[in-house]
């Protein structure tokens, strides 16, 4: 069913597999290699499971030096490399090709240094997102970005995708919370970029690396900011009769000078499924539900939530519920956080990840419903209202012929709509293979050339994480040393 084109493997490389295995064995030892087919099959896909390719070899290094040796060897032997963390990418960012080596850094998961006075932690990049917080929590700190997969996903993957989370309205995304990285270039050179000081010296290479989806190098260490935990936090739920009312309420909260730590929006379809699954206490008679969370001391929280309730009252809400305590707060969030799983229980779905300006929300939701109806599909919408990140979940039936194809087409139309409305193709999941071909709808040939030239500086032969981020034709032209032409200057 899938219609994303995957490149044909290089037969010449496949034929050299025994030599390559021997070459790697002699450099890093046999115990780091996974060679048997069952073992390699575990790495054939990520969380974008519709696409699978069993890689030629899997390597699990434990040190930066080993990563360097592996990359140098692959570079000298013209072998493609797929960097991988925990494999939780929702856009196929860690999908292998059959002629590539998967370099998985999940074994590199230790703490190197925690400096509370200067408020940073230096960790190996295979450490999971939540583990960083676990290591610093006892001293009253946490690592701020909180993607839904934070229990499993690695900091390397977060860096690759510039991951966000529900609380980024206040704390920012990965790029706001990382000070530096140790990275290995394709030729084996180890570079330290940034960190641990707040300011970087020279060009801001770190900004180029964060969110580069494994295109520029393999990150082996990260120096991240750790942030003091708030005294307390509490959510409230506000149910509305229309998306317009909910959208206007969000705008009014921000206009009043309140920047909550999170503002989550769910439409009726999402509310129903999450409530049935988690029993979070969501109202079932509303068209739109906002979960608004604020932080501070008990008295500050009380005042702020009261103020938000006053603002909400102007938009004729059907329900206003301020969480009564930690137990209810946990239930309210459990419902929202279980959303993807809950929907997954009732249907197959494609999770889209576009962004739109807040003011476009009602219009976007109407158009998304139309697009899905045109493709004979249903949709549930979850929206990080504070930061414009929209997750329409396009529901389909994998057993029904043609359904998945239609879902992909509807998804594409939705993302193009996001770009039309002033948003972008992806807010936090990344481009991967999924949105590769759509890049041309957001970027001009010149915009893309600016990016591909940067990629070429770091990876001149285009063998790192191939066939992703950029349209396949562009990747192939770049690898052939024949960049796509761009229009003449007027």
């Amino acid at each position: 069913m899938p219609h994303i084109e995957l490149p044909e493997p290089d037969v010449g490389v496949l034929r050299r597999r025994p030599i390559l295995v021997e070459g790697l064995r002699s450099r890093v030892g046999a115990d780091l290699l996974i060679l048997d087919e069952d073992g390699r099959r575990a790495y054939e896909t990520d969380a974008f499971t519709a696409y699978r390719r069993v890689p030629m070899i899997v390597v699990l290094p434990r040190t930066t030096e080993e990563v360097s040796k592996i990359l140098k060897y692959c570079h000298e032997n013209s072998v493609k490399v797929i960097p991988r963390g925990a494999g939780t990418s929702l856009s196929g960012g860690a999908l292998p090709t059959e002629d590539a080596i998967v370099l998985c850094i999940s074994k590199m998961n230790g703490v190197i240094e925690i400096d509370y006075a200067n408020r940073f932690a230096r960790v190996q990049a295979g450490m999971t997102n939540l583990e960083i917080t676990a290591r610093v929590a006892e001293k009253g700190f946490f690592y701020a970005p909180d993607p839904s997969s934070q229990l499993a996903c690695t900091i390397a993957g977060n860096l690759g995708m510039n991951s966000g989370g529900a609380h980024c309205l206040k704390y920012g995304v990965t790029t706001h919370n990382v000070l530096g990285v140790k990275m290995v270039l394709i030729d084996g050179t180890v570079v330290d970029i940034g960190g641990p000081t707040l300011e970087r010296n020279g060009y801001d290479l770190l900004s180029l690396v964060i969110g580069s989806e494994g295109q520029l190098g393999v990150i082996t260490e990260a120096t991240v900011k750790i942030v003091p935990s708030p005294e307390g936090a509490r959510p409230m739920m506000i149910g509305f009769r229309s998306p317009e009312a909910a959208g206007s309420c969000v705008a009014a909260i921000i206009a009043a000078g309140i920047i909550p730590v999170a503002i989550e929006y769910m439409d009726r379809a999402a509310i129903e499924v999450c409530e049935a699954f988690a029993g979070a206490g969501y109202p079932l008679d509303v068209e739109a539900l906002l979960i608004v969370e604020v932080e501070g001391s008990e008295s500050e929280i009380g005042v702020l939530l009261g103020h938000i309730a006053e603002i909400a009252a102007k938009y004729d809400p059907k329900t206003v519920v301020i969480s009564a305590g930690p137990e209810q707060s946990a239930r309210i969030w459990a419902g929202r956080k279980a959303a993807f799983g809950a929907i997954g229980r009732i249907s197959d779905y494609l999770c889209m990840d576009g962004t739109i300006p807040l003011a476009q929300l009602p219009h976007a939701l109407t158009r998304i419903s139309q697009i899905c109806a045109e493709h004979d599909l249903k949709v549930a919408n979850i929206f990080h209202a504070g930061d414009g990140n929209l997750h329409p979940l396009v529901l389909y039936d994998a057993n029904k012929p043609g359904d998945a194809d239609r879902a992909e087409l509807a998804g594409e139309a939705i993302l193009k709509l996001c770009v039309e409305l002033g948003g972008c193709l992806t807010g936090e999941h990344g481009v991967g293979i999924e949105k590769r071909e759509l890049m041309s709808s957001q970027f001009s040939p010149t915009d893309l050339a600016v990016q591909t030239r940067i990629k070429s500086v770091f990876d001149p032969t285009w063998r790192l994480n191939p066939a992703k981020v950029f349209p396949l034709a562009v990747t192939e032209q770049m690898r052939a040393g024949n960049p796509p032409s761009i229009p003449e200057v007027a």
Binding site: N201, D204, I259, P357, D387, N389, H429, Q442, Q451
Partner: protein, 409 residues
Amino acid sequence: MPVTELLRPAAEWELQTMIAKLASQKRPVEIVGYGALRNAGRVARSDVVLSTAGLKGVTLYEPTEIVMSARSGTPVYDIETTLAARGQMLAFEPIDLGPAIGAPGGALSIGGVFATNFSGARRVLAGSARDNLLGIRAVNGRGELFKSGGRVMKNVTGLDVARGMTGSWGTLAVMTEVTFKVAPLPQTMLTLAYTGLPDDLAMEALTAVMATPLEVSGAVHLPKNCAVRLNQPKLQGIDQSVTLLRLETFSTAIEERKEKLKAALKIYGTPIELDAEATWSLWSQFRSLSVMPFSTETSLWRISTLPTKAAEIVSAIQKFMDVTAFYDWAGALIWLEVPAAADAGAADVRRAVAVRGGHATLIRAQPEVRASVDVFEPLKPEIERLTRGIKSAFDPDGLLNRGRMYADL
């Protein structure tokens, strides 16, 4: 090199055409806004100057989405006025270097803010200029117009070229329009001033404060010889160092936070309290660096380091020369005045920083000094290789602000 030609495009397309023409002639060009930063950094080697001053105006402002776009030549003053009318601000408090480098104040363009990424005291809470940048339109040294990023808070579509341009001092591309996050003005604010703390103890206090969830929005320390320049009557004539902490929040919350802050810092003494009005005026002084006034007798350095190393670095440099230090960002940034010298003290400053971690940038010195010493911290070889690659990707003939950051780039 004397300037023989001044270009002042009035529109993006015109700017692109001009750069494209220069590119075809392989003629280097110096990029400026209103010239506020011309006395900082190295002197660009070019006889053509292109000013973005004709590219003015806010092109998008959605207060309820806390986002604004402006043409790169828009004065920061105009932007802040427009924002203030809707109760908003630039949270990262851009630094106007002008008065400290012998240029008029208030001549800073928004493009210059992102090109240098110089952020003010609120950085400790609200992030840097770079952190608040969302998207750009720009023309590179090939004369190509491109865009990156967008107007929404979250955007991971392709490489983050926009943030990658920050701090590149116009050597990669000329920004024509920038889109950035804005923030609500705080309802109220106050300052606590602790006096008489030696530098190392002050750094300890600031470090302790930053580990609390009290959301201090400014944490600076001025040793005695710098504190004398403070403009507040309440802080004048005390003849001691001054350590300042700013709180900005809702009027319903500020008293509670103040008491908690005082409790957390009890061992450092009883602070002098400054109200909202005095706080506003006091912290404005740091935005124009008027605690580091222009002088030809001294050079000015900007040092980025770890808060726990800051006092040590200043004290190490002090062994070799008289210094006036201003510690910002809870000790993560030091503005340091040293006596004017042939190398502006570079050898001693850089050595003191190198062994303790961080990097130093020479901000103010006589042009011949800035031409002869490294203004920016020299790069490690492997980073230099990437830097040259990036420069070449954007500007293969090295035309934009040639020599502005590094002598041969």
